[in-house]
Symmetry: C3
Subunit: 465 residues, 3 copies
C-alpha cells in the first residue's frame, strides 16, 4: 500500500492514532511542568524513560500484542508520528557531530601545552578501547557458556545474507580523508578527526613563528567552538521529551512472540551487559575515582544511548557530560569520544559477537575448547578495531567474527536473534557508550586532566546555552 502525504492524514481518522498522539503531547506537557518546577535534569531523564516504557507497552496492549506490530496500521502510524519527535531530535544531535568534532579536535591540539603528546593520547585511548572489548568478549564467553545459549535452541533458522565485509586494509584506507569535504558530507568521523589533527598540528607549529598570521584562524576556531557548544546545549535541553518517544517506539514496534522465542538470548545479553558495566565501574574505582559518582555524572548520556540506540548521536551529550560533570577537559573528551564511537565498541563488537559465536557453536555442535576460546577473543579484539566506522556495526561484527571463526555459513541460524535486534541494541549501545566514557575517564585520569572538584560536584563547570 502506497503511503502518501494524504494517507498520513486519512489514517488519523483511526481514533487510536489520534489518541496516542494526544497522549504524547500530554506527556510532553507533564515534562514541561517538571522542567518549570526545576526538577533535576537526570530525574527528568529517568522519568522520561519510565514513561516511554509504559507508553510503549500501552500501545502493545491496545494493539492486542500483535506478532508484527509495525504491520498493524494504527501502530505503524503512531510509530511514524512518534518517530518525527524521536528521530527528529536525533537528527539535530547528529547535525552537531561533524562540526563539533572538527572544531574540537583542532582546538585541543592547538591548545596542547608543551610536553603533551598526541601520540600517547591516541595510544592509550585505542589500547583501553581494545582492551575493554577483549574483556567484554571474555564475559560474553563465560555467560554464554554458563547459560548454555543455543543448546536447546528455539530460534528458527531463516534467511539472512552476510554483508560483504571489506578487508582490514581497505577499511583502514577508507578512514583516510582523501577528500575532507566529502568525508564531512559522508559523516566519516575518523577521517574528519585525522584532517582536523593535521590542521591543528600545522597551526600549532606555525604559531611559534607566524603567530600574527595564523591568529585569525585560531580565533575563529575558538569562536565557532563556543557557538557550536551553545547549539549543543540548546538541543540537549530537549532530550527528556525525545526519550519518551524514542523508547515508546522501540517497545511498541517489537512482536511479543519474537521476544518470547529469544527470551534466553535477551536475558543472557543483559546479564553480560550488567557484568561488563560492573567491570567498567571497577576500572573507574581502580583509577581512584568514586564509581557511583561516575554513574551519576554520566547518567544522562547512558539513558540517551539506551533509548536512542545511536552511539554517534549520543556523542555530543557524552562530551558535554564529560566536560561539565566529570571535569575532563573538552579536548580530551572529544578526542576519546570520537575514537570510541568508531573503535572498540564493548557492546556491539565485544559481548554481542561472543554470545552469538557461543550460540552458533552450541546449535551446530562445534566443540568450545581452549583453542576456540583463545581464537575467539583474539578475533573479536582485532575485529573491534577493523570494523571501525562502518554502519550497522553489530551485525557487521558478528558477520566478521563468524567468518573469522570459520562459521560463516551458519549465519542464517541466527535470524531469530536479528528479529529482536533493537531490544538487544539498547543494552549494547549503552555499553558501547559506557566503554567510551570509562576510557575517557581513565585516559583523563592518567594524564591528570580531571578536575576532581567538578567530578565530586564541589564546583560547577556548566557549558552555557
Amino acid at each position: 500500500m502506497q503511503s502518501t502525504f494524504f494517507t498520513d492524514f486519512l489514517y488519523l481518522t483511526d481514533i487510536k492514532t489520534i489518541l496516542f498522539i494526544v497522549v504524547l503531547f500530554a506527556l510532553f506537557f507533564v515534562m514541561k511542568q517538571m522542567e518549570k518546577k526545576k526538577v533535576k535534569f537526570s530525574t527528568r531523564m529517568l522519568s522520561a524513560t519510565g514513561i516511554g516504557l509504559v507508553l510503549g507497552l500501552l500501545i502493545q496492549v491496545v494493539g492486542g500484542f500483535p506478532d508484527a506490530p509495525l504491520e498493524v496500521p494504527f501502530i505503524a502510524e503512531i510509530n511514524k508520528w512518534y518517530g518525527l519527535f524521536a528521530n527528529g531530535f536525533m537528527d539535530l544531535l547528529k547535525m552537531l557531530v561533524i562540526p563539533l568534532i572538527f572544531v574540537s579536535i583542532m582546538r585541543v591540539i592547538i591548545n596542547m601545552k608543551q610536553g603533551e603528546n598526541l601520540g600517547k593520547l591516541t595510544a592509550r585511548t585505542l589500547g583501553l578501547l581494545v582492551g575493554t572489548t577483549a574483556i567484554a568478549a571474555m564475559i560474553g564467553l563465560v555467560v554464554g557458556n554458563l547459560f548454555q545459549l543455543g543448546v536447546n535452541s528455539h530460534l528458527v533458522a531463516g534467511e539472512a545474507t552476510i554483508r560483504e565485509v571489506s578487508s582490514l586494509v581497505d577499511t583502514l584506507r577508507g578512514l583516510l580523508p582523501s577528500n575532507p569535504i566529502s568525508a564531512m558530507a559522508d559523516g566519516n568521523v575518523v577521517a574528519v578527526v585525522i584532517f582536523a589533527a593535521f590542521l591543528g598540528l600545522a597551526t600549532k607549529r606555525q604559531t611559534k613563528k607566524y603567530y600574527d598570521i595564523v591568529k585569525p584562524f585560531i580565533d575563529l576556531v575558538e569562536a565557532f567552538y563556543k557557538i557550536i557548544l551553545s547549539v549543543a546545549m540548546t538541543i540537549i535541553k530537549w532530550m527528556p521529551y525525545a526519550v519518551i518517544a524514542l523508547l515508546a517506539n522501540t517497545i511498541a514496534g517489537r512482536g511479543m512472540a519474537a521476544l518470547g522465542e529469544a527470551i534466553d538470548f535477551i536475558l543472557v545479553t543483559y546479564i553480560g551487559v550488567a557484568l561488563m558495566f560492573v567491570v567498567h565501574l571497577i576500572l573507574i574505582a581502580l583509577s581512584g575515582l568514586n564509581p557511583f559518582r561516575y554513574v551519576k555524572n554520566v547518567l544522562d548520556a547512558l539513558v540517551l544511548a539506551f533509548t536512542s540506540r545511536s552511539s554517534l548521536g549520543t556523542l555530543p551529550v557524552s562530551i558535554e557530560k564529560l566536560t561539565d560533570n566529570v571535569g575532563l577537559d573538552n579536548g580530551t573528551a572529544t578526542f576519546v569520544g570520537s575514537l570510541g564511537s568508531n573503535a572498540g565498541m564493548n557492546g556491539c563488537a565485544g559481548i554481542y559477537p561472543a554470545l552469538v559465536a557461543i550460540t552458533v557453536a552450541n546449535m551446530t555442535g562445534t566443540p568450545i575448547d581452549m583453542t576456540f576460546i583463545i581464537m575467539l577473543v583474539i578475533v573479536i579484539a582485532l575485529a573491534s578495531f577493523g570494523i571501525a566506522g562502518l554502519p550497522g556495526s553489530a551485525t557487521m561484527a558478528i558477520s566478521v567474527v563468524l567468518s573469522g571463526m570459520g562459521m560463516g555459513e551458519y549465519f542464517p541460524l541466527i535470524a531469530g536473534i536479528i528479529a529482536i535486534d533493537p531490544i538487544l541494541d539498547m543494552g549494547r549501545t549503552m555499553l558501547n557508550v559506557n566503554g567510551t566514557l570509562t576510557t575517557a575517564v581513565l585516559v583523563g585520569k592518567s594524564f591528570n586532566k580531571i578536575d576532581q572538584d567538578v567530578y565530586y560536584g564541589r564546583k560547577q563547570v556548566v557549558t552555557e546555552e
Copy 2:
C-alpha cells in the same frame, strides 16, 4: 546516435546551426550596446524577453514547425549551444544559493534587535505562503470549471508513471539537517536555513557574555556576506544576455502540434496565473503600498523566473530586488525567500494541481460537487507544505493531489499536458516567485521593516558589485 565531443563540431557544418549561433552573438552585442548606453536594467530585461521570444519562433520557422523540434538535428544542436549560456548562467546563480542563504540567515538572526521574534517571522511567512496557495487553488477551481477543462478533451492518454511520494512525516524529517555539510552539498535549502538559524541564535546568545570570543565569527559572517553579495551582483549583471538564450530555447523546443492540442489548458492556466497575480497586487495594495510600484520594483526577478523556470535560481535576484528596490532588510528578504522557494508555491502547488484535478474530473466524469471542492482546497493547501523542498515540484504536486483525491490511477490521462509542461512552467514559476515576493512584502510591512523611501524610489540602496 551517440553524441560525442566531436559530433558537436561536425554538426556545426550544418549552416543553420552556425547561423543561429552567430545570430545569438550578434544579439549579445546589441545587448552590450544597450548596456553601454546606460539603458535601464529593467528595459534591457524586457527587450531580452522580446528578442528571445522572436528568436525561438524564428528557429521554429526555419525548422518548419516540426512536431518534435528537439529531434530535428540542427534545432537540437542550437538548443545545446544556447543552453551553454542559458543554463551556464543559471548554474552560476545557483552556485550562490547555499552560501548566500547560509550567511544571510545567520546574519539576520545575529543582528536581530531586542524584541524581534524569529518564531513570529516564521509563522507569518508560512501562514501567508499557505494562505495564498489556498487562494490560488480556488482560482484554479473557478477558471477550470468556467472553461470546462477536459470536457471535450483533445488530450491523448499516454504513459506516465507516478513518482513515489514520500509521506509528510518523512518529508518533514528530510528537511532536518542531520549532517549540515551533506545538506549543503545536496542543496537542501530548508536544512541549511535551520542549521544557520541554530548557529545564528547561539551566536546571538553568546554575544552578551562572550562578545570578544565570538566576535571573529560575527566579523567573518559580515565579511563573507559582503563578498557573496558582490559576487551575486556581478552575475546578475549578465542576466539580460542569459534571458535571450533561456527563452529562445524554451520556445524553440516545443512542438506546435502538442501546443495546439493543449491550447485550452495553456490559455486557462495563464488566465488563472493572471488572476492570481491580480490577487497578489490587491494584497499589496491592502497593505498600504502601491502595487504598480511593486511590479516595477521586482520586475527583473519576475522576468528571470518566467524565462528560467527555476524558483531556486531566481532566489539571489529576488533577494537583491527586495533589498535594493523594495527597501526590505536583506535578512527578512533572505528568510522569506528561502522558505518561499520550498513551501507554498502559488503556481506549482496551487493553481496547477487544481486545474489538473478539474481536467481529470471532467475527463472521467467525476462529479465536481461541494465535497470535491472543499476537499481539493484542503488537500492542496496541505500538500503545498508537504512537498516542500522536493525537485520537480509541479509534477510531484499533481501526483500528490490526484492521489489525495483518490484519482491516482487517472494520472496517465494527463500525459498530453506534461508534454507542453515547459510552456506552463514559465507562468507557474513566475507566480511562485511572485507569491514569495508578495509574502516578503506583506511580512516586511507587518513588521514595519520596509523603507518606503526606497520602495518609492526616493532613495537608492544599491548593493555594490
Copy 3:
C-alpha cells in the same frame, strides 16, 4: 573468494607475504637513516625509485613471473599491504588538493597587483596547454608511423566497452560550480577554481571601499593558506617512503606475458615521451632559463608523478616545487597547476591517443594520409580541452579520439594495450605533469614572475613545515 578482515591475517601465514612486508619495513628504515644523515631529498627520491623497481622485480622473481600476478595469492596480499602505504600516502596528498586550490586561488586574486590580469593569465595558460598537447600529438604520429605500430600486430583483440562520452557542451557545463559545496565534495577542481575566482575577485573589489569589513575574510584566507601549506610540507616529507611501495606495486602487479606482447607499444610510447620531454626542455631553454636546472628543480614532482600515476595527487608537490625551487609565486603556480591537471594533458590526451590511432589505423588498413594526420591533430587538440576534469582521462581520450576519427568500432582491438596500461600510465602521467610544470614556467617567465635567484639556487625560499 571472499576476502574478509580475518583472511587478511590468515594469508600472512604465507611466509613470502610476511617476508616482503618485513623487507618493506627494513627499506623504510634504510630511508630513515638516509634522512637522518641529511641526504638530499632528491637523492632520496631517486634511491627510492631504484629500490621500488628492484623490489617489484624481486616479487615477480619469487612468484616465478606469473601471467596474472594479482591472481597469485601472496602477490595479491603483498600488493594490498604495500598499497596501504602507497595509496594511503596518495590519499593524504589528495586530501590537500581541494583546500589548497580553494584558498590559493582566492589568495592569488586578492593579492594581484594593479595592472595584472586574470584573463591574460588564463588565456596564456590554456593556450600553452593545448599547444603543447598538439605538439605531443604530432610526435606521437611521427614515432607511431616510424615504428609501424600495429602493422604486424601481436595484440589480441578482446572485449572492451567504450565509455559513454559526454558532449563538449555538457562537459563545459559540468565544470561550472552550480553548487560549490558539492563541487568540493566531488573533487571538481575546475569548479572550485571558478568559485574561488569569483570570491577572490569580489573580495578584491570590495577591498577598495569596505576594507574594514572584508579584512577578517582576507586574514582568514592568509592564515588558512599558511596552515594548509604547512600540512602539505609535513606530508611531502614522507614521499620517499611511499615511492618505494608505489613503484614496487606497479611493477609487481603486471604480467610479463602481457608486457611481452605489447613490448613494441611500450617502447614506442616511452620514445615518444622522451622526445616530448626534450621538446619541453627546448621550450624552457627558448624562454631563457636553463633546462637542466629546471629538471633538477622539479625532479621530485616528476618522480612522484611517475610512481604514483596521479596528476591530481602530484599537484601539491608540483606547487611546492614551483614555489620553493623554481621561484614562481605560489598563486600563479597553483593557478596553472590546477588548470593543467584538468586540461591539455600532454601524455594522456596528446601522445597516447595519437599512438593508439596509428596502431588502430595500421591494424585495420586505414590509410594514413594528410587528411588523417591533420584531422587527428585537430581532434586531439580539441579533445584535450573537452575531456577536462573527467576521471580515467587516458582511456577516455582514446575513446573520444577514435570516435572523432570515425574508428569507434575498432576500440576492442586495443584491449591488449589496456592490459598493460599502468606501465604506460607512468610515463604518460609524468609527461602530463611535466607539461603543466613547463607551462607554469613559461607563463611565469612571460609575466616576469620567476625569481631567478631561487631558480638558480642562489636563494632559498623554503616553505616551512
